[in-house]
Structures are given as structure tokens and as C-alpha cells.
């Protein structure tokens, strides 16, 4: 077995003060418990290789001792591993059950459907997994463990960064790539200097040591590995802080804007607004825009999978902010509008047919583009609700569908294609008390028609009004309904997360730290030069302190370089298998 693989022996051999980070049999020895030397051998290197000793006995510890013991348990590698596993497992149900914060509608539907069982699941937090106490407990414990783990390691590492590489082991024979060469006629001191320069040139930290009848260069490199590991773990903490900070201070709101109309950023203009607990409404940034045009295109491919699928959504807007003045910009999916203090995302669209409703007395009681709600079919069949509380003699409501490419058959009114090929309205008019005065807030896009009277035709059945653009329909009572044209509308989310950049920087730092931590080999290399009768004996060897497949090769190459100028017959005594 070569020396690299025998952690215990190496630990003792290298006698170093910083064996805390010594690697074990497979190069993965932990560093985390460096501060818990085993009983009776405090400070001895191999104790740092993490408790391969018996588990800590638990005699009378006292309060402080117990606390310390618990803290050590919490910050141990095993606990970290268990908590990580728990985190993975605990995240699973959130992907299986609908989540309230992601999909509230679906969650309510699930609750309604599954009765008692769903209630139990709800009490357990399975519909709010990621904000449930148990999920939070796991990641909070994990991050506490992380802090407890990282701080001592960072301190140890800082000490290492300032310390010189440890003493060269007395016997190099057991280490990786050990090479021994007799070099007649070579000046020992000059060779030591050359070795040191060579290693320094390769970014090793070196120190020359005077020994009995010999001098040696002890060198080490790869401190960045541990630095990277610390950056990685600390940055993870940063990500958590960023996410939490964002949650507290962000805001997000939804707006809907019809072509030709505008929006200016104030709370009253939002359809819905969802601020974080620490959001300060006075910080709402000032900006306004008009939606000049919204373009949508749809595939006319003969292929059934593709037919009617959208191929383009674009919103042309004119944006004004105090800082940047007025400018035109096109917003697309994946290309949000960025203004100072807010971003605006194009998330939805639909049709807004222009309708004018006159009551029996000839007064206009409803007018203009009316936002309709697509029902989710390919053809954009859209639901329309128009409330006219001011109509005389009775309040009126118009309910029905807007069809971009209309067809009315036995399955009812529906649209066959999402673009405006044959736009039409299919409507029913109701009269009666709309109940708007009852003080109960109502959804503008919904209406309960059960208490209303449909306007009927001569045969006594409700009239189904079918209208094409430019047409007008006169009802029996003298009221009229006209379809003047179609505009489109776009729906946007506006949000600002002050911590977003911080979170991103942290995530990228974590990734950077991870790369260093995984791919920088940490190693020691020793060169010992012993003057002898007619020259010097050169010995070179290395120790891998992490996964380091190239060490052997590198050590041998170093030996070859050092031996090169005076090439004698090398008496290589390799121990590498």
C-alpha cells in the first residue's frame, strides 16, 4: 500500500501541527472536527481524522458540557449528512401535492375533493411544504450546523494560510512518487535553491529546513481548495439570506392593459398586489407606459400538435421614467421590461372586444374594450362578462363568449383558431338586480346569473345574440348592443426584489467556490538534499491531501528536472505500485 492511502501513518509521520485537515484513506478525510481531539492524545494528528475513535463517552458533563456536547453533535459531519438527506426527503411531498403558494386554485380544488383526508394533510402542512414548520426546522438546523461547522474551519484555515509548510518527514520512502537519485558532482546548496525556485515557480509555498546532515524543502500548495470549500458553504448561507431578505422586502403585482391604454405605477392601478412584510409602499418607483400594440402569431402548420400553437407574443410599449425619459420598447416573454426599481414581465394576453350597450332609454351604460378571459383551449374561446348597473329601468348584465375564429355548433359556441380570422360574439343578456350594492366585493370577470332574468325572444327562450364586428343588435325592450371592434390586451407581472442581485452573486460564488473545492488538488511535496562524498543525494516525494491523480507523475517530473543538469544513473527506488 502506498503512503497516500494510509491516513493514520501519514498523520503521525508528517508530525504536522496542522494535521487537522489530514486526508484519510480515500482522500476524503473530513476537516470538520478538527477541534475535537480524542481523549488522552490531545493534539495528536490522527485524532483529527474525525473520530475513528469510539463515540464520545457521556460521563457527567454538567450543563455546559451537555450544551457543548449537543453543539458538537449538531455541527458534526454526520448530522450535516442526515440533515441534508432529510432536506431532500422533506422536499418531495411539495412536488406531489398542490401547493398553496404556487397554485392556490388547484389546492382548494384538491381540498374540496378529498374531504377529511385532505384536511389532515393540510394540518400536516403538506399543501404549504416549503413554509411548514418541519421543513423550516430542517433547513434552519442545517444552516446552524453549517455556521457551527464553517467558523472553526475558517479559523483553522486562516492559521494555515499564515503558517509555513510543516516539517519534512524523516522518512520519505513511504510517500507518493518517492524518488531517490545520486548526483555526483552536484552542489547540495545549489540544488536546494533550485528545488525551491522550481516549486515556487509552480505556486507552492516553500520553506527550507536545516536538518542533520541534510537540507530539505518542504512545500505545499492548494490552499485554495479549502478556501473554495469555505466560500462555497458561506455563500450557501448567503443564498439563504438573500432569499429570506427578498421575501421580506419584495413586492409583486398584476396588471392588465388594453392596447392603446396606459398604466402608471401606483397601488390603485394594480389588479392584485402582494408586498413582502417589510415592503414600504412609498418606495414604489415612478414610471408609466402605454401599450401601443400587442402582437400574437399562431402556427398554421398542418401538424395537429402544432396547429394553433403560439409562435410569437410581443408588446410594443412607450415607457416613461423620471431617470430615463420616454422610450419605446418591445417586451417579449423572456425579455422583461426593466425600469429602475421594477421589472415587468409579459405573462398573459387575450382579447378585449369593444362593446357599446345602450339601455332602453338610449343611454350608453357600458362602453369600450372589455377584457375577456381565455378558457384555455387552443382556439382562445374567451369568456365575457359585462355589468351595467346604471341601466334603466333595470340593471343589465351581458354574459357570453368572444370567439376569435367563431363556430357555434352542438358543443356550443367555441373558437377554432386563436387568431382573429372570423371574430364574433355569442351573448346572452340578463336583467335584474346585480347585487353590487350588497357590499360584498365581486370579481369583475364573474357573475352569478341565477337571480337574473335572461332576455327572451318571441318563443320565450333566452336569446342567443351572435354579433360580428360593426354589427348592432336591438333587443325587444329597445336596448341595443353593438360590437365595434376588437383590441388585444396584455397581462403583466410587475415585481421588484431588492435582494435579487445579492442572491445571484452568492449563488455564483457558491458555484465558484465549489469548483475550487473540487478540482484544486491540495498536496505537499518534499525535496531533501543530503551532501555525500562526491556530490549529493536527492530525495523527492509527495503527499496528496485530496483527490490528486497527477501527484505521482508531478513528483517524478520534479525529480527528473532537478536531476537533469548532471544526469547520472538514477537509483530510483519507487514504492508506487
Amino acid at each position: 500500500m502506498d503512503a497516500q492511502e494510509d491516513g493514520t501513518t501519514v498523520g503521525t509521520q508528517s508530525e504536522d501541527q496542522d494535521a487537522a485537515a489530514e486526508r484519510g484513506p480515500d482522500g476524503g478525510e473530513q476537516t470538520a472536527r478538527a477541534r475535537t481531539p480524542g481523549p488522552g492524545r490531545a493534539g495528536a494528528a490522527e485524532d483529527f481524522t474525525s473520530g475513528r475513535d469510539a463515540p464520545p463517552a457521556m460521563p457527567k458533563l454538567g450543563l455546559r458540557g451537555t450544551a457543548l456536547f449537543l453543539w458538537r453533535q449538531l455541527t458534526s459531519m454526520q448530522t450535516a449528512l442526515v440533515l441534508l438527506m432529510l432536506l431532500a426527503i422533506a422536499a418531495v411531498p411539495g412536488s406531489l401535492y398542490p401547493q398553496r403558494n404556487v397554485n392556490p386554485g388547484e389546492t382548494e380544488a384538491y381540498l374540496a375533493e378529498n374531504g377529511k383526508l385532505a384536511e389532515i394533510l393540510d394540518t400536516l402542512g403538506l399543501f404549504d411544504v416549503y413554509s411548514s414548520p418541519w421543513f423550516s426546522a430542517i433547513y434552519l438546523l442545517l444552516f446552524i450546523s453549517l455556521i457551527g461547522c464553517v467558523i472553526p474551519r475558517a479559523l483553522v484555515h486562516l492559521r494555515h494560510l499564515r503558517a509555513a509548510p510543516p516539517r519534512t518527514p524523516a522518512k520519505l520512502g513511504r510517500f507518493v512518487g518517492h524518488t531517490r537519485v545520486q548526483l555526483p558532482g552536484v552542489d547540495a546548496d545549489e540544488l536546494v535553491e533550485r528545488a525551491r525556485a522550481d516549486l515556487r515557480g509552480r505556486r507552492y509555498r516553500t520553506v527550507v529546513q536545516e536538518e542533520k546532515r541534510a537540507r530539505s524543502v518542504s512545500s505545499e500548495r492548494g490552499y485554495l481548495r479549502e478556501t473554495g470549500n469555505l466560500i462555497f458553504h458561506i455563500a450557501l448561507l448567503g443564498v439563504l439570506i438573500g432569499v429570506a431578505g427578498g421575501h421580506l422586502t419584495q413586492y409583486r403585482g398584476q396588471i392588465t392593459v388594453v392596447e392603446g391604454e396606459g398604466f402608471s405605477n401606483s397601488l390603485t392601478q394594480y389588479d392584485s398586489f402582494d408586498p413582502g412584510p417589510w415592503f414600504d409602499a412609498s418606495h414604489l418607483p415612478e414610471f408609466r407606459f402605454t401599450l401601443d400594440e400587442f402582437r400574437a402569431e399562431y402556427s398554421t402548420s398542418t401538424n395537429e400538435h402544432q396547429f394553433g400553437q403560439p409562435t410569437l407574443f410581443e408588446a410594443d410599449m412607450t415607457v416613461t421614467t423620471p431617470d430615463t425619459g420616454t422610450a419605446e420598447q418591445t417586451v417579449r416573454v423572456n425579455q422583461p421590461l426593466e425600469v429602475p426599481g421594477a421589472s415587468l414581465y409579459l405573462l398573459g394576453n387575450g382579447y378585449a372586444p369593444e362593446i357599446t350597450l345602450r339601455d332602453a332609454e338610449g343611454a350608453v351604460v357600458a362602453e369600450g374594450p372589455l377584457i375577456t378571459i381565455p378558457m384555455g383551449d387552443m382556439g382562445y374561446t374567451s369568456q365575457l362578462v359585462l355589468k351595467a348597473p346604471d341601466a334603466q329601468p333595470e340593471q343589465m348584465a351581458v354574459v357570453g363568449f368572444f370567439l376569435p375564429t367563431g363556430e357555434i355548433d352542438e358543443s356550443g359556441p367555441h373558437s377554432q383558431f386563436p387568431a382573429l380570422i372570423d371574430p364574433q360574439l355569442a351573448l346572452t343578456v340578463y336583467t335584474g338586480d346585480l347585487g353590487l350594492d350588497a357590499g360584498v366585493p365581486q370579481n369583475a370577470y364573474q357573475i352569478d346569473v341565477s337571480s337574473l332574468e335572461p332576455v327572451t325572444g318571441e318563443d320565450g327562450s333566452p336569446v342567443l345574440i351572435r354579433l360580428y364586428p360593426g354589427q348592432e343588435y336591438a333587443l325587444e325592450d329597445g336596448s341595443t348592443l353593438s360590437f365595434d371592434g376588437v383590441r388585444r390586451y396584455a397581462a403583466f407581472d410587475i415585481k421588484h426584489d431588492p435582494f435579487q442581485k445579492f442572491t445571484l452573486v452568492m449563488a455564483l460564488s457558491a458555484a465558484g467556490g465549489l469548483i475550487l473545492s473540487l478540482f484544486v488538488p491540495r498536496r505537499r511535496v518534499w525535496v531533501r538534499v543530503r551532501p555525500d562524498a562526491d556530490g549529493a543525494i536527492l530525495e523527492v516525494a509527495g503527499l496528496a491531501r485530496s483527490e490528486d491523480p497527477r501527484l505521482d507523475e508531478d513528483v517524478r517530473e520534479l525529480a527528473a528536472r532537478l536531476a537533469a543538469p548532471a544526469p547520472p544513473a538514477p537509483t530510483s527506488r519507487s514504492r508506487k505500485s
Binding site: G24, P25, D26, G28, E29, Q30, G51, R52, M77, Q78, A80, L81, L84, M85, L87, A88, A91, V92, G94, S95, Q99, N101, V102, V129, V243, R252, S299, S301, N303, H305, Q306, Q309, P310, T311, L312, F313, R332, V333, N334, Q335, P336, S343, Y345, L347, D493, K495, Q500, L504, A507, L508, A510, A511, L514, I515, L518, F519, E547, P549, E553, S577
Partner: protein
């Protein structure tokens, strides 16, 4: 969009599948021959040196030959060499056809060819084969693994070809205008491919270490009554044949330790890739929906996968978990990758569910 070119792209993939099958036959023939070879070798050895010194075949526990080294197990019989050459030839041709099909699909749709499950699987499969070819050309003793690489690749390709195939299509707006789509998905494909290779190596490591334990156990037992064994004309010592022909194949593969190291290296690269998949996915989500993290099922499983592989890396550094136990975490991670990619895409509905499936 050119429908005929799209047809050609499909055809190229189908032909590639057929040629892969030929490659697979080559690799299997080589594998079968390898299982035969040991007994031949042993026989020859015995005639040369005598039974007493029946040496442990060094391939079993050895280290990798350094870059550029030839076939691991000495000079193989010419007959089997040609099976391997055939396998490499076919696989090489197949992967070229495969790549051509993918590139053509990209040309036809004027976008990157990994926007739905069909394309994702096909691209991922090509990555795995390419990686394997590169790895195994550098390391002779991995060539024996061809069967275990090509077989799953073929299965994935066949499943994609039969169940997930969708016609070449341009992207829906939600997938347009974002270079993050390109970056996010290409890294996801690459790291999934690497995770696949890593899982394969981890499985081999587990098998190899069982095998080594069995062989050592038998060797220790066998050594005491070596004369008896000799008398029966059997091998004695640490290299005692156990597990029959499977054992013969295992003898020619790297030992459990070097396999573990290789598995770690593959997983380390793949994990970094997955970390970026996660980050770039979040950036993309933020651009598209204004939320970088929304606990969408796809995101959840990407996260779970990441945590499980983090467990693997941690386990390697944790007392009591090193080596084989850690390897189980890697395999659990790969189960998550597969789950994320099949069940989550098809059954669990989320924003990510690919259209057309």
C-alpha cells in the same frame, strides 16, 4: 420550416439506432470473449510458471494505465480484438449519424435541438456515447464497459423514438428569446449524461468490491488447502475464480478503488454542472416569470437531485460512509435524475411540462 429535412433528421436517428445495435453486438461479443479469455490466460500461465505461483491478474486491483496506455489486460487474442474494433467502428459511425440527426433538427427548427423530451433524450444519449468514447480511448481498461453504456443509451433512444417523439417544431414563445434556455439545457444534458456514466461506474464499483471481497474470502480459504486444489487442477490463491464468467469480466475491469476514484471524478464534474443547471434555470425562470424560484415540481426535483448528490460528496468525507456507502447516495441521485426526467415531465404537471407531450 422544411418538412423533408425534418424527415431526414428522423431517419438519421433511426439509422443511428440500428448501427448502435451493431455496435452493441460487437461490445457484447468482446465481453463474452473476455469472460472466456481468463481461463485461457490462466491455463497458459499455469503451463509456464506452474500452479503455485498463479498470480493475481493485476487488472483486478490495479490502477489505471496512464493516458494513452493500451488495452488493460495484456495482449488479447486477435479474434476478440476485432470484435472490439468492430464495436468501436460501429459506435463511431452511429454517433456521427446521431449527431448529424440532432444538428439537422436544430437547423430545421432554427433553434437548439433540446426543447422537448424527445430532443433532450436524443441529445443526452449522444453526450453519453461521446463521453464514453473519449474516456475509453484514453483508458483501455474501460473499453469493456461498452455494453453497459450502449445498452442503456439504446433503451433511452428507443423509448424516446417510440413514446416521446414529436415533430420538429419551432418554439412556443415561452421558450424563445432566451439564451439561458440554450445554456441551461445544454448543461443539464451534459450533466445528466455524466451522472449516467457516474452511476454506471458506481454500480461497477459496488459489484467489484463485492467480488473482491468474495475472491479474497475464497482466496484465504483456498490458500490453506492449496495442494488439494492443485490436485484437482484448480487455481489457488487470491485470484481464485469465483462468480464464474462474471468474475472473469470483473477481473479485467479496474478494481473497486480506482473505480471509486473515477466515479468521484465524474460525479464531481457532473455536480458542478448540475449546480449551474440550477442557477441558470433560476435565472431563466426569473427572466420568464419574474420568479427565480417557485417550487414548481421540476424545480423541486432539480433541487432534490442536487441535495442528494451533495449528500454523496458529503458522505465521501464522513466517517462511516466512505466508499461503498457513499456510492449508494450517488445511485439515489441518479434515480432522482431519472425521476425528474420521466415522471415529473409526464405525470406531475408543472410550468415546465414540455408542450406536445
Amino acid at each position: 420550416m422544411n418538412e423533408q429535412l425534418a424527415e431526414v433528421s428522423n431517419l438519421l436517428i433511426v439509422v443511428a439506432i440500428v448501427v448502435y445495435i451493431l455496435g452493441l453486438i460487437g461490445f457484447s461479443a468482446d465481453l463474452a470473449a473476455a469472460s472466456q479469455r481468463r481461463s485461457d490466460q490462466r491455463l497458459a500461465q499455469k503451463q509456464l510458471v506452474g500452479a503455485a505461483s498463479a498470480a493475481v491478474p493485476e487488472a483486478g486491483g490495479g490502477v489505471f494505465p496512464s493516458a494513452g496506455a493500451g488495452d488493460g489486460g495484456g495482449a488479447p487474442a486477435p479474434r476478440t480484438m476485432s470484435a472490439l474494433t468492430f464495436a468501436y467502428g460501429m459506435t463511431g459511425v452511429a454517433v456521427l449519424l446521431h449527431l448529424a440527426g440532432i444538428v439537422l433538427r436544430g437547423v430545421v427548427t432554427q433553434r437548439v435541438p433540446w426543447a422537448n423530451m424527445y430532443e433532450f433524450s436524443m441529445s443526452g444519449a449522444a453526450v453519453v456515447v461521446l463521453m464514453f468514447l473519449i474516456f475509453s480511448i484514453r483508458r483501455g481498461d474501460l473499453r469493456l464497459l461498452g455494453t453497459f453504456v450502449i445498452l442503456p443509451v439504446l433503451i433511452v433512444m428507443l423509448v424516446a423514438q417510440t413514446f416521446w417523439i414529436v415533430p420538429a417544431a419551432t418554439l412556443t414563445p415561452s421558450l424563445q428569446n432566451s439564451h439561458w434556455l440554450v445554456i441551461h439545457v445544454i448543461i443539464a444534458v451534459l450533466s445528466s449524461g455524466l451522472f449516467g456514466l457516474g452511476a454506471l461506474v458506481a454500480v461497477l464499483q459496488l459489484i467489484q468490491s463485492r467480488y473482491e471481497a468474495a475472491r479474497a474470502g475464497l482466496g484465504a480459504a483456498g490458500a490453506s488447502d492449496a495442494p488439494a486444489a492443485q490436485a484437482e487442477g484448480q487455481d489457488a490463491g487470491a485470484g481464485a475464480p469465483v462468480w464464474g464468467r462474471v468474475g472473469s469480466v470483473l477481473d479485467r475491469l479496474p478494481g473497486a478503488k480506482p473505480l471509486e476514484a473515477l466515479s468521484y471524478r465524474i460525479h464531481a464534474v457532473a455536480f458542478v454542472g448540475w449546480t449551474f443547471t440550477l442557477i441558470f434555470g433560476a435565472i431563466w425562470a426569473n427572466q420568464a416569470w419574474g420568479r427565480f424560484w417557485n417550487w414548481d415540481p421540476k424545480e423541486v426535483w432539480t433541487f432534490i437531485t442536487w441535495v442528494v448528490y451533495a449528500c454523496y460528496l458529503h458522505a465521501r468525507a464522513t466517517r462511516g460512509f466512505r466508499g461503498n456507502k457513499a456510492a449508494w447516495f450517488a445511485l439515489a441521485g441518479f434515480v432522482c435524475v431519472i425521476f425528474n426526467y420521466t415522471v415529473v415531465n409526464t405525470v406531475i404537471n408543472g410550468l415546465h411540462s414540455y408542450s406536445g407531450l
